[in-house]
């Protein structure tokens, strides 16, 4: 039987949660026994090659591309997991949610102390995804099955959760592995 597949993505995040995935250290060899990686920055596969058992999402949605990727993950993954504060609460990127978008853009591309932009035009290359009005946690965009808290979640949290899911056991995380910071 083919191994189940795992896909991961970093949306509006800092890749810290992916670092935490790698932080399972030598257990990554055990993980490779259990699963194959599909679309993921870990193996640099850009598009889904088929149905995945588990999708891990880092980061919330701050632009239209994040939403597209997230919906793509929902379509291809049996179980979708929000990993880390940004995916669950919006996190640091969501700090802009109390500031009007135009003010954010002006500060970043026109008025910021280190900005040089004599034309005053926002970056508008068609390849750049449009920024959303605010940053959304993943579960406000698609259905999310599990949430792994932490900034980032400890490697043990990710490990135990993945192993429980892949071996059909309940995900009983001990108190010490549920942390919001």
């Amino acid at each position: 039987m083919a191994k189940p597949k795992v896909a991961t993505a970093s949306l509006a995040g800092c890749f810290g949660c992916h670092m935490s995935i790698l932080d399972i250290d030598e257990r990554i060899l055990q993980l490779i026994e259990l699963v194959d990686f599909d679309k993921s920055p870990v193996d640099d596969i850009k598009e889904f090659t088929g149905r995945c058992a588990v999708g891990l999402i880092e980061g919330g949605c701050c632009n239209e591309e994040n939403v597209r990727v997230l919906k793509d993950f929902r379509k291809h993954c049996d179980i979708l997991i929000s990993v880390g504060e940004c995916a669950i609460c919006g996190g640091i990127p969501a700090m802009r949610n109390t500031i009007p978008l135009k003010e954010c853009m002006d500060e970043a591309y026109r008025n910021g102390p280190s900005v040089y932009n004599p034309t005053g035009v926002y970056p508008n290359d068609p390849a750049l995804p449009l920024v959303l009005n605010k940053v959304y946690p993943c579960h406000e965009v698609v259905k999310i099955d599990y949430h792994l808290q932490g900034c980032p979640p400890p490697a043990d949290t990710i490990w135990q959760a993945l192993v429980a899911l892949l071996t059909n056991k309940p995900m009983d995380l001990p108190y010490e592995l549920i942390k919001y910071d």
């Binding site: 504060e85 549920i178 919001y180």
Partner: protein, 240 residues
């Protein structure tokens, strides 16, 4: 003794003393009822409703309800735990609670309660309210993003410090903790040693230059859930 008040919490016999609330009697008996606005040095306030229990089948806040002879109190039931989860989740979405860089993280009662209740994500949409920070005072700051409107600082300043530094302004979702001065916190007579400062259950009122002093792994709620100290009393009594 004749002046005790016998009643039960989740079927466990508890002896309250006259004048005690359900919460106080439960604490003495080593039974933890979750709470945020209640504090042992303050008068009951009953604003957060996290301590809601069922008394003879009716919801009551345990911090304001006096114990009475023969009452049947439900505390640790799936239904009440679900209500409490909902309340704590509402507090999380109603403010801007960024645990990852909060100085109070690990020692925060709101966070600890969420850990204890096993909250992995709030079921309600985040509000992202626009709230401000007042860091004008040389030794203390208020971050209103983190305030849960428990009024502990209001009561502590008035009742324990003999001052009147804090009060609420506004109604409903516009309600904010405010200060007894024209403009800024520095214009009040608040002192860094005031009870009102350290009694904040969250990171809304913080002493400056004290942040992150305790490393991760050694903070108050890193290993033991909130309420473990109260529950330890009962465990010790059972062993004795």
């Amino acid at each position: 003794m004749s002046d005790t008040i016998p009643f039960t919490i989740d079927g466990v016999a508890v002896e309250g003393r006259p004048g005690q609330t359900i919460l106080q009697a439960a604490d003495d008996a080593g039974i933890y009822i979750p709470r945020l606005c209640a504090h042992k040095e303050l008068h009951p306030f009953g604003s957060c409703r996290v301590c809601t229990v069922k008394v003879n089948g009716r919801p009551q806040s345990a911090c304001t309800m006096p114990c009475a002879k023969g009452m049947v109190v439900e505390n640790n039931t799936p239904e009440l735990l679900e209500h409490r989860r909902g309340l704590v989740e509402m507090l999380f979405v109603e403010g801007n609670h960024y645990c990852m860089f909060c100085e109070k993280s690990g020692n925060c009662e709101l966070q600890a309660l969420a850990y204890r209740l096993g909250i992995m994500a709030p079921r309600y949409p985040f509000q992202f309210p626009d709230r401000n920070v007042d860091a004008s005072h040389p030794d203390v700051l208020i971050d209103r993003n983190r305030c849960i409107l428990c009024a502990r600082c209001v009561r502590a300043s008035h009742d324990l410090d003999g001052k009147n530094v804090f009060q609420f302004v506004g109604r409903g979702s516009k309600k904010r903790i405010w200060i007894n001065a024209e403009a800024k916190l520095k214009d009040t007579n608040l002192d860094v040693t005031d009870k009102a400062v350290e009694i904040c259950p969250v990171g809304a009122i913080l002493k400056k230059r004290q942040g992150y002093a305790v490393p991760v792994g050694q903070r108050l709620y890193d290993h033991q859930p909130i309420g473990s100290d109260i529950e330890a009393k009962r465990a010790a009594a059972a062993q004795a």
